[in-house]
Symmetry: C2
Subunit: 257 residues, 2 copies
């Protein structure tokens, strides 16, 4: 009963404070154990999974709304967040009717009357440091969990397509911008970084050429420390030079005929 009230209040809140027809969906990439992972939510009382999302307040910028929603879901504020596509197919809604949704939640169907039947959803992808995230489910979902990128189940709505496109965009981004600042701990080794790249690209890279290329970007500071503990030769630790990193992000290398 308490939950029902909460939901109803939430819906009233939506109606008064948020834009209708527009939603935000997140593909949140994390990196752990040499695996690229995506944060998914499990829909209340079902075994169906979907991407975390958000909505936009009436007097709120889209980007602000994205950062706010993401923080609600992960607890992180300083994150790499980038819009990659806006999805607006009506078919997005084949899996779940409005009635089903309400039925699942045990709510009368009329609470959603007047709501538009579909949203246009702005897709963002985020890169976060796995360890720092505190996944938090919302009122519509029971659970919040990391999934290996190659073991994503069939998701609700068009969320599988979203992940695919987000990954494609991320891979392309890798080719003209440095990545890693938001995915690795502060200090890391070259093999760590290479594993990250290989995982994102889905292919192996030559160790020596990779190092040359990355160092060529001039965005890393090599520390005097080495990472001990593992077997064999101890690798140097590196740290992103934030200044140079930001500079590289802005001064995007454009291909010119």
């Amino acid at each position: 009963m308490e939950y029902k009230k909460q939901i109803e209040q939430l819906i009233v809140d939506f109606r008064t404070n948020y834009l209708s027809s527009v939603s935000i969906d997140f593909v949140i990439f994390g990196f752990h154990d040499g695996q690229l992972k995506v944060l998914l939510l499990r829909w209340k009382e079902t075994d169906k999974w979907c991407l975390p999302g958000g909505r936009v307040r009436h007097e709120e910028n889209l980007e602000t709304a994205a950062y706010r929603s993401l923080q609600e879901r992960t607890g992180l504020s300083e994150i790499f967040l980038e819009q990659f596509h806006t999805f607006g197919d009506v078919l997005r809604y084949t899996h779940f009717s409005k009635e089903e949704t309400m039925g699942t939640l045990g709510l009368p169907q009329d609470v959603l009357d007047g709501f538009p039947g579909r949203d246009v959803s702005v897709g963002y992808y985020a890169l976060v440091e796995f360890a720092r995230v505190t996944p938090t489910p919302d009122l519509f979902t029971d659970e919040c969990q990391w999934w290996d990128i190659d073991q994503i189940p069939l998701l609700l709505f068009d969320h599988n397509a979203m992940i695919t496109l987000a990954l494609k965009t991320l891979r392309r981004q890798l080719s003209y911008q440095p990545i890693g600042y938001n995915l690795l701990p502060e200090k890391f080794t070259m093999p760590d970084l290479q594993q990250l790249y290989e995982t994102i690209l889905g292919q192996t890279l030559d160790r020596r050429n990779f190092q040359k290329r990355i160092l060529g970007y001039d965005i890393l500071d090599r520390l005097d420390e080495r990472k001990t503990g593992g077997a064999h030769k101890a690798p140097y630790l590196y740290r992103f030079n934030k200044e140079k990193y930001e500079k590289a992000l802005k001064g995007e290398v454009l291909f010119v005929g």
Copy 2:
């Protein structure tokens, strides 16, 4: 009076048939006289210009809506159209208040009551063959005209920023995908194509290297004809090989470590 009725009807139509909070804006690129041009609309009874736009019907896909709206504005159906960014800043609306808008149109302010104060706008850019376009103004605008890309005035809303980003995206697109199919007439010469590239990129290119690179893509068929009439040596005519062209569009060359 007649016009006022039309507008009111239009607004009723919007309320019942279209998504609120979502709009579409177009940066329509054309190419003529060695100049890259953009199609702009002049707002009714003012000297202020803006981008053409559209809205999404309740049961219509976003992309479908984009194609439909674009056809209404240009008369063209088979065009290159690509989403490049979604804009959602509240500041987008600084130039024009709801009241001003209504005032300009000579309408009572209450016709827009209940309308959300702002939209999230999905930006598309289009490439069209200049000569085939029939610019058509809508009910809110008096005039529809091509503007040289480097002579765009201060536009309404955030439309200047939209053009800037659209151009940036177009230029990047040029580096990993062929372009020209929708901007040039069926038969064209290599210098024609080069001029198009130079205009889009805003820089000159080496004639010989350009030819080598383009032919290397293997998307052109050289015809037996030559373009006569001009002074000096007659250049060959080329035509895009649609099959190969489409293939090149899909099989995007991804940078790999």
